[in-house]
Amino acid sequence: MLSLVFRIVLIVISIGTAAYMLKKIRQSKLQIGHAIFWLVFSGILVILSLIPDLAIWGAKLLGIYSSTNFIFLIIFFLLILKCFYMTIEISSLEYRVKELAQKIALAERKEWDREQEEQDGQSKES
């Protein structure tokens, strides 16, 4: 059984998370695409705490001892999934930053080389 206190805590934390994300979007400090996960995550937790029968049903289905554990499982699962995708995202970001820096450096070198050649050409003429 989900205790009333547990359900209230879940709801408060979920709404707090969602409100924080929306505030960040309002301040133009967060891209909407990145906030969607947290909004859906909060939504799921609110639904689970408003309708305890869902967790009881899920716990029975998976053969878990208590419905509280079912909710923990859901939270765990979603956070691990998010963590996994974030690892991939960070890796790709790092790679792209590296690529960008190298492209800028190579372009600058090319520019210098060209200027150098022009100067050499001019000094030979004079």
Binding site: L22, I25, R26, S28, K29, Q31, I32, G33, A35, I36, L39, V40, R96, E99, L100, K103, I104
Partner: protein, 229 residues
């Protein structure tokens, strides 16, 4: 009005030549800019060889970043309006003059819409469009018949906003946000071509993700946003 056609292109080697040649031969009066979004195929090479007006992004930014680059270019170079135009040949340039006329009536955004006079067919693909239309109707009270059309024209104010702000994606949720904030959006009936070559970006799982993103954004997020003019 000075118009810039912004053509974001990612791996469009099979289409870009056909699309740009048509613009260059029959629609010389309009300026255009291809934003090559870090394509890994010969898109950039083809454009440079033909001396097309192109800007190369060194890495892939996605549609939002590529389109915003075009908006920044238009803003810096004093264009009055920008047309978002697909590189795959779906959009037909013969409708541009009609959209410009509509624009001159004082709209902020004009959508090249497939469903002003014609009805949506009841396919799975159109279900998404239908749901997004409903969501926009619910939150703004306005009817946008074809919110997912990628053929959109923006005026100077919109160019400035899109060029300089975060969370201005060229997607239906931004349209919904702007409508809610008082922007005037008009629609012009157009016909679109089926994609001739290359693969569509939207497969099933991407479509689901897209729908989830756009719907949560329209129904929840956009109600809490503040507009930075």
């Amino acid at each position: 009005m000075k118009l810039l056609i912004v053509i974001p292109a990612y791996n469009e080697e099979e289409n870009i030549e056909r699309v740009v040649e048509e613009l260059q031969s029959k629609y010389r009066q309009y300026d255009y800019l291809i934003v090559n979004d870090g394509s890994r195929d010969r898109t950039s090479e083809i454009c440079h060889r033909n001396h097309y007006h192109i800007l190369d992004l060194p890495i892939n930014l996605g549609l939002t970043g590529a389109f915003q680059t075009g908006m920044k270019y238009a803003y810096e170079n004093g264009y009055d309006c920008v047309l978002q135009f697909d590189a795959d040949g779906q959009h037909l340039p013969k409708y541009i003059s009609m959209m410009l006329e509509k624009m001159e009536e004082g709209y902020d955004i004009v959508i090249g819409s497939r469903f002003v006079d014609e009805k949506k067919n009841k396919s799975f693909r159109m279900l998404g469009s239908f749901l997004i239309s409903k969501a926009i109707r619910m939150t703004t009270g306005r009817k946008i018949a074809d919110p997912t059309s990628g053929m959109r024209m923006f005026n100077r104010d919109m160019i400035r906003e899109f060029a300089n702000n975060i969370n201005y994606e060229p997607e239906p949720d931004t349209i919904s946000f702007l409508v809610k904030q008082g922007a005037e959006v008009g629609e012009v009936q157009v016909h679109m071509e089926e994609r001739i070559a290359g693969e569509s970006y939207l497969n099933f799982s991407r479509s689901m993700k897209y729908m989830m993103r756009v719907l949560v954004s329209i129904l929840v997020v956009q109600n809490f946003r503040k507009r930075n003019r």
